[in-house]
């Protein structure tokens, strides 16, 4: 009898075990929201969330994940690789990445027009605890606004300005900071003559970027804006597809665009280092940091980036910030950019993706970023005037950088889907003119002819 009972108990246990096992195996896994991101700059961007190697999860991020029930997966890659991953993911509509890294100088314009991004206006109120649009500098949002809709939130961002060596300015008798492009050119001329007189051959009056491709175009477009007084790319200053189509506005690269382009090229040739036709932002940063350049403009942030790691004491001691020079039109040389992040239109959970985005661009995260890099740049006025940056920078520097943000016109170049192509062609034309393979007129004539054909092909003048 006991044996029978034992057998029955054993059978019941086995049956129960098997049933439980089967149920566990066939039951749906606990639902968990996952948000995938691709970006660049491991150890630089969001180091407070993903650690210095980009492969960890800090307590701050773990707390967010726990609170919101969202798992955040970050994939860092080299900048070019990350851009390619974003492009391929969006073009194929795979939705592997919920959040995609963009930029306000082409990607936002192109991808929004192609329908690859989710407009964020409807999401802004959903995660206000993390990101409140009213608390950030407006121009950084405007830079990511196309056709009246917001497509991305700003992370690392900057406006125009000049970083220069005050000791060298003083040495050559430049006691007043040059306010206009004319005065800046005179100052550069004086510095060049002074350096030559002193037999200094490895320090150059100016460093900018002239590498082929889109690299110089952000700054070059700023020169065009300062000289023409408007985004002089298309007739009548048309900056949107609707305006271009309505006015049948033709490109004007051999027209009002020319003066700014010419000045950019001439300054680079006359006052820049010999290798400037291949220089990227990294080269201009390094050159300034090594004390081999006196002035860096108009993307002053690259100068600030070069100062902390500099081994030249004078660079750390005597570097100063000045506002971007005003051109003959009364407008300053612009250089305005945001490294922004958008929600993929192919994301399976856009609300969760937006929540993560709002967290990643929130005030505490940006404050940690400011603490980490220490440059006087941030998207929040509260951080600009907060303890982190005021402890590090003089008030006039912070006020100057802030004034450049506030007064900037982020739309100083056209917001058209073809912007990326134009940026690439314009930068390459500048590089050719700086290197001397083409004259300014030849480079602009080729650019004009390409642009006319391209716009015709895109159906703007039907």
């Amino acid at each position: 009898m006991l044996k029978m009972l034992n057998r029955a108990a054993l059978a019941a246990t086995l049956t129960a075990g098997l049933t439980a096992g089967l149920m566990a195996a066939t039951a749906p896994a606990r639902a968990e929201t996952t948000v995938n991101i691709v970006g660049f700059g491991a150890g630089f961007a969001w180091a407070d969330l993903f650690g210095p190697s980009g492969t960890e999860k800090t307590q701050k991020l773990l707390d967010f994940e726990k609170k919101e029930g969202i798992t955040v997966n970050m994939e860092y890659a080299d900048e070019e690789v990350a851009r390619q991953k974003v492009l391929l993911d969006l073009v194929n509509g795979t939705g592997n990445y919920d959040l995609v890294m963009l930029g306000s100088d082409g990607a936002v314009q192109t991808f929004s027009a192609a329908g690859y991004l989710e407009p964020l206006d409807g999401h802004l109120d959903k995660a206000k605890d993390y990101f409140d649009a009213a608390k950030v500098y407006k121009p950084f949002l405007e830079a990511n606004t196309v056709d009246g809709k917001l497509w991305a939130l700003p992370y690392y961002s900057f406006g125009p300005g000049v970083v220069y060596r005050k000791d060298i300015f003083d040495k050559y008798g430049i006691t007043t900071f040059p306010k206009t492009t004319e005065e800046m050119e005179a100052a550069l001329k004086t510095i060049k003559a002074g350096l030559a007189k002193d037999g200094i051959t490895d320090v150059y009056p100016l460093t900018m970027r002239g590498a082929p491709g889109e690299e110089p175009s952000l700054d070059l477009a700023g020169f065009v804006f300062a000289f023409a007084g408007y985004p002089a790319w298309f007739e009548g200053g048309a900056t949107t597809p609707a305006e271009i189509k309505a006015k049948k506005a033709k490109p004007i690269f051999t027209g009002d665009f020319k003066k700014g382009f010419e000045t950019f090229v001439n300054w680079a040739k006359d006052y820049g280092p010999p290798g400037i036709a291949t220089h990227t932002w990294v080269d201009m940063m390094n050159l300034y940091g090594q004390g081999k350049a006196v002035v860096l403009l108009p993307s002053a942030i690259n100068g600030f980036a070069g100062i902390p790691g500099s081994e030249v004491p004078a660079v750390k001691q005597f570097s100063a910030y000045g506002p971007s020079p005003i051109g003959p039109s009364g407008k300053p040389i612009e250089s305005f950019w945001t490294f922004s992040v958008g929600v993929s239109n192919f994301s399976k959970d856009k609300d969760a993706a937006y929540k993560v985005l709002a967290f990643m661009t929130s005030e505490p995260v940006m404050e940690d970023f400011a603490t980490q890099i220490g440059w006087p740049y941030t998207t929040y006025p509260s951080i600009m005037h907060g303890p982190v940056l005021t402890a590090k920078w003089p008030k006039e520097t912070l006020d100057g950088v802030e004034a450049a943000f506030i007064s900037a016109d982020p739309h100083y170049f056209p917001y058209i889907p073809e912007l990326n192509e134009f940026m690439d062609k314009i930068g390459t034309a500048a590089s050719e003119a700086i290197a001397g393979t083409k004259t300014t007129d030849e480079a602009l004539a080729e650019l004009q002819s390409w642009a006319e054909e391209r716009m015709e092909r895109a159906g703007y003048y039907k």
Binding site: A114, G115, G275, I276, A277, R457
Partner: protein
């Protein structure tokens, strides 16, 4: 079909399937893309016939890239052959220490990206050892990477440094397989070293030279990383080869159709070159 009843056929099937997957499908896809209007800035994607090819052949970028690729191909190949041949001749003697050969082939294991960075820093006109110190010290004031000719010379030098060891290995193997008797015979006839090279070495290693040249041509047409890292195709378009132009078309200008059309052109050109070389120099006589 009788072929399906032959058991040997089924042994070939996996290989055919594998080839179809890894070679034929991507190639077919490339051709399809080249005939499609596919540009991110335009939401419409449609069959465009030879539209992309028309745009490509009219483009100043394409003309410039063809010219740059030709200059790069000829200059780097000529230098590489001379350099690799010289090294192979010098190091082919049976008693040459193997350490010397190992040193010569070292650059081969360095990835082109790393080689590009190394040469970029060496040639840098502001702080590079060669560009800022050695060359100016020798009286050459030109900034190598910022000058159009200097940039081309720089990428050719870097490429030769990086890729010549592969050619050297092919030449060396061919030279070591030449029977010693031939040299003894020609020496008995009173030939000097130059005549030995011209009448024994060169004819005997001719198939190896053709193979090396074939590899070289394909490699040069497709070179991307090294030039991208060193000059990004600049200054201007001075070093923008076809491969760089293709990459730029796809990933900077988002024109996939145009980039695919360029890819098709490059495949056709390399295939034609390879076929001519094979038929002319390698096909066994019948």
């Amino acid at each position: 079909m009788a072929i399906f009843n032959d058991w040997r056929f089924w042994f070939v099937v996996p290989m055919v399937l594998a080839l179809g997957t890894v070679v034929l499908f991507p190639s077919g896809y490339l051709v399809w893309m080249s005939l499609t209007h596919w540009i991110v800035t335009d939401p419409e994607r449609y069959f465009d016939g030879v539209g992309n090819f028309r745009v490509l052949f009219r483009s100043a970028d394409f003309t410039s890239a063809v010219w740059v690729t030709l200059v790069y191909l000829v200059a780097s190949t000529a230098l590489m052959v001379a350099f690799a041949m010289g090294l192979a001749l010098a190091l082919s003697a049976p008693r040459t220490p193997s350490a010397l050969r190992s040193i010569v082939i070292m650059p081969l294991v360095i990835p082109p990206v790393v080689a590009g960075f190394t040469w970029r820093f060496l040639m840098n006109g502001e702080m590079g050892f060669l560009g800022a110190f050695l060359l100016p010290g020798l009286g050459l004031k030109m900034n190598m990477l910022a000058d159009p000719t200097g940039a081309m010379i720089s990428v050719v030098i870097a490429d030769v440094w990086s890729r010549a060891p592969f050619m050297f290995l092919i030449f060396l193997a061919a030279m070591q397989s030449i029977p010693r008797d031939y040299y003894e015979a020609i020496r008995l006839d009173g030939a000097n070293v130059f005549q030995e090279f011209l009448h024994v070495t060169l004819p005997m290693i001719r198939p190896a030279v053709v193979v090396a040249l074939l590899f070289r041509v394909i490699d040069a047409i497709n070179t991307f990383e090294l030039i991208y890292v060193m000059t990004k195709g600049g200054p201007g378009r001075a070093t923008q080869t076809l491969a760089l132009f293709g990459w730029k078309s796809a990933f900077q200008r988002f024109d996939f159709g145009l980039a695919a059309a360029l890819g098709v052109v490059m495949v056709v050109v390399t295939t034609v070159c390879a076929s001519i070389a094979y038929r002319r120099f390698l096909r066994p006589a019948t």
